[in-house]
């Protein structure tokens, strides 16, 4: 509401930033095609679009990382040339990236100091950090080491780092994908205050409700072009989604509330595992069970033990005792990944490059990587090339993977396309237990819908499914029961229909969060009408 009012005070003002006719051509793809964008002073402006719509390219042009092939940029009404991020910062443009660039072993102040080019700026830096964090409601202790901080706190470092430069425009790239609902609420309050004080914000996201709640105007991109400019509060989330993706959305009602709590397929009994990574998260006393035909979702903020849990479930890290993990009553805690696949488990970790797939190998070889056990793709110690090729072709067809064929190298595919291939590889193996970590990470909405349908179909046919995801909406839409992982512990699963956002949010924050007893508004986010 503040954002609206603030912007309303300057109706005819010169735009802070005005892009006109921006074109950026990459080999085989026109990432930006005649894009116009105008951001007013005091405005929180949304840039909305699917993965691959050209948002990132446009932002890189604004921040001076890339040069456009054609088009003009005007800053405060004057033509501007933004040749580098340093020039962008000199103009007053700050950016908070989706992936933070922080050194875990250093303190908050040290990390901020590393980004400063002028030595004189370092004098009294800790005080200024504390001052800014107080003023904008971004609680942060300058002396703490980064590896002790939650993801939300790390993001605050990046924001404070930008605010130290007193920016006139702050670009935020998918800022809420790593935050709890409570943290999102706080972040929005900060952003509104910033806008009120004169700092415009370009907010990049594909989360429609957030954009409706926060942003005064939105520019929607699809396939490199601007398809609409609108006032998001006046549109429904569904209308926005339809503008964003080309096909009309099918109504999604996956909630197939089964009440059969039949024999559990997978049972974890007090699973405790030490992480094999520095600054990793140990798993503590995790007990849960999944029945056949059930979809269990594990929500949580990144870095709370999700990848360790996946490694334990896949067999990459063996459990302490064989009975810690049982599948259909058989102890499998000491089985390796191949034995678990033989028993009917299929799984896919979060990281595609170099974990779920070998980027320098072909799709056919990547299909063989996890598919050779259940797909019988080998014969007499040799790779059965015909069947391996057929398997890859079947995946490509069933999951609409955009590629030249099974002989394409995995690294030539876009992230979302490769994810479709990998998900397909696990699905087409007819698993009785499917376990996925962040199944739609970096996948566009249309492909995500296809993946959801396939997961539900698999569960209806009697497979047990476990989904670990940061995307709470995904879990609420897809799963029968939900549990939350925080600091390596998993809460007791509850039926999704009994779950409330507040309760899940509090669990996601765990006990480590200092501000978990915040009062949430009635609706999920306050929509400024």
């Amino acid at each position: 509401m503040m954002a609206m009012g603030a912007a309303g005070r300057y109706p005819g003002a010169t735009p802070l930033l005005h892009l006109q006719g921006i074109v950026k051509q990459f080999p085989g793809c026109r990432a930006n095609d005649d894009v116009d964008l105008s951001i007013a002073p005091h405005e929180i402006h949304a840039l909305l679009g699917e993965n691959g719509a050209g948002k990132s390219t446009l932002v890189k042009i604004i921040y001076g990382v890339m040069k456009p092939d054609a088009g003009s940029i005007a800053w405060q009404g004057k033509p501007a040339l933004i040749g580098s991020p340093a020039q962008a910062r000199a103009l007053g443009i700050g950016m908070v990236f989706q992936h933070f660039s922080l050194f875990e072993a250093l303190t908050v102040t040290e990390n901020v100091a590393l980004g400063l080019t002028d030595k004189a700026d370092r004098v009294g830096l800790a005080d200024r950090i504390a001052d800014i964090s107080r003023r904008y409601g971004l609680p942060l202790d300058p002396a703490r080491s980064v590896h002790d901080l939650s993801v939300g706190e790390r993001q605050r470092i990046e924001i404070v780092r930008c605010l130290l430069q007193k920016p006139k425009l702050l670009i935020m790239d998918e800022p809420t994908s790593v935050l709890t609902p409570q943290e999102v609420f706080h972040l929005f309050a900060t952003l509104r205050r910033l806008a009120d004080e004169g700092c415009s914000i370009l907010y990049i996201s594909h989360k429609l409700e957030e954009i409706r709640a926060l942003c005064r105007r939105a520019t929607i991109m699809r396939l490199g072009k601007v398809v609409a400019e609108c006032i998001p509060a006046e549109k429904s989330a569904r209308e926005l989604a339809e503008l964003m993706i080309s096909a009309r959305l099918q109504p999604q009602s996956f909630a197939h509330s089964i009440d059969n709590q039949g024999t559990p397929r997978l049972v974890l009994d007090r699973l405790t595992i030490r992480s094999n990574q520095q600054f990793g998260t140990d798993l503590k006393d995790i007990s849960l069970s999944i029945a056949a035909g059930e979809i269990l979702g594990i929500a949580g903020i990144a870095g709370n033990g999700q990848s360790e849990l996946m490694d334990a479930l896949s067999g990459e890290i063996p459990a302490g005792r064989p009975e810690t993990i049982t599948l259909d009553g058989m102890p499998i805690g000491h089985d390796g990944p191949r034995d678990r696949r033989r028993r009917g488990c299929c799984f896919l970790p979060e990281e595609r490059n170099g974990h779920g797939a070998v980027t320098s190998m072909t799709l056919a070889e990547n299909g063989f990587l996890s598919g050779h056990v259940r797909g019988a793709l080998q014969r007499l110690g040799l790779i059965d090339r015909r069947r391996t090729g057929e398997f890859a072709r079947a995946i490509i067809k069933a999951f609409d993977v955009r590629t030249t064929g099974p002989e394409a190298e995995a690294r030539s595919l876009s992230g979302g396309n490769l994810q479709k291939f990998l998900i397909g590889r696990e699905m087409l193996q007819q698993p009785t237990l499917l376990m996925l970590n962040q199944p739609t990470w970096g996948v566009d909405a249309g492909a995500a819908a296809a993946i959801y349908e396939a997961i539900v179909a698999l569960a209806r046919n009697g497979a047990a499914v476990l989904i670990i995801s940061q995307d709470l909406d995904e879990i609420l839409m897809l799963c029968d029961r939900i549990a939350v992982i925080a600091s390596g512990r998993v809460s007791v699963p509850i039926p999704v229909r009994d779950a409330t956002i507040e309760q899940i949010g509090l669990q996601m924050g765990g006990t480590a969060m200092p501000d978990h007893n915040v009062k949430l508004p009635e609706t999920r986010y306050a929509v400024s009408a």
């Binding site: 054609a70 191949r338 190998m361 990587l369 056990v373 110690g381």
Partner: protein
Amino acid sequence: MQFRLEPRGERAIFWVYASPALAIVLTIVTTMALFALMGAPPVKGIYTFLIAPLLGSAGISALALRATPLIMIGIGLALCYRANVWNIGADGQFTLGAIVGGGLALHFPNAPFFVLYPAVLLGGILGGMGWAAIVAVLKTRFNANEILTSLMLTYIAALLLVWLVTDPWRDPRGFGFPQSAMFSPNATTPIIIPGTTIDLGSLLAILLALALWQILGRSVLGFQLRVAGAAPRAARYAGFSNNRLIWIALMISGGLSGLAGIIEVTGPIGQLTTSVTPGYGFTAVIVAFLGRLQPIGVIFAGLLLALSYLGGDAAQIDLHLPNAVTGIFQGILLFYLLACDILILYRFKRLAPSPRPVATEALT
């Protein structure tokens, strides 16, 4: 004019094969410049170094003799390096193959050929494997860096051989020279092309290269080794045991190095001496990389590097240049090869001399 390296996003197949060609050209040009600096006419120098040694059937024989150990070791190293196992100590495994196989040959000189010769070859293979097994144990049990352990074992192997031929295995009728007796004809690698010195070893090297080519490309084991090398986490995800693959890679390359060693001493040398290798195990590292870590490529790379040995001898005799020319040529070649390989994943992009202004127009 400024250039910048820009990632291509995928491997350029053209440069996978063009890079070694470019590296060879650059190496020849640099070597010619070096000849000029040392006072030798560059054109005549490079002719003496790279072409003259090949003329005549004696030249081909000599080339085959030199190339055989390089190819045999090189294919094993190629497999090892594809699996991300950095065995640098092939020279030591080569020496141990010569010692174990040679020991058998010395102790049973009268056994019939069809018993003794296969046993000697097998001894050579097991000797190389045994030496590589030390590296494997240290790597898998204690996570000791295989580059260091395999390299240091090379010196132990060399000194072990010196001790053996100066004391226990010294030929009593050898006038006190530090060398063993000559091996009996029943423990000698047979010549396969009469009138030349081309022996069974050369044939074996080619056959083994073909076999390894098939194993790497088509077998599940080869796939596992390639995945372990390209993406260790993906190998764990697939369920391939990393320790098992380290063992297999070291046993294959150690065994091949040992076989090369025993063929060298039962063939061209004919006895054990204080030094049975002019650094074949190290030159084979260059052979493996120049051959694109592909067994078939290793055959061609082995021939080229073998030529550099012959050329070094020729340059010494005809041009009075130091024999070190061989090592310098090999070093320059590896240097250029690694530099040129960057073109496989990157391209050069020319930067405009001054920032090109983006077309701007006044806003109303």
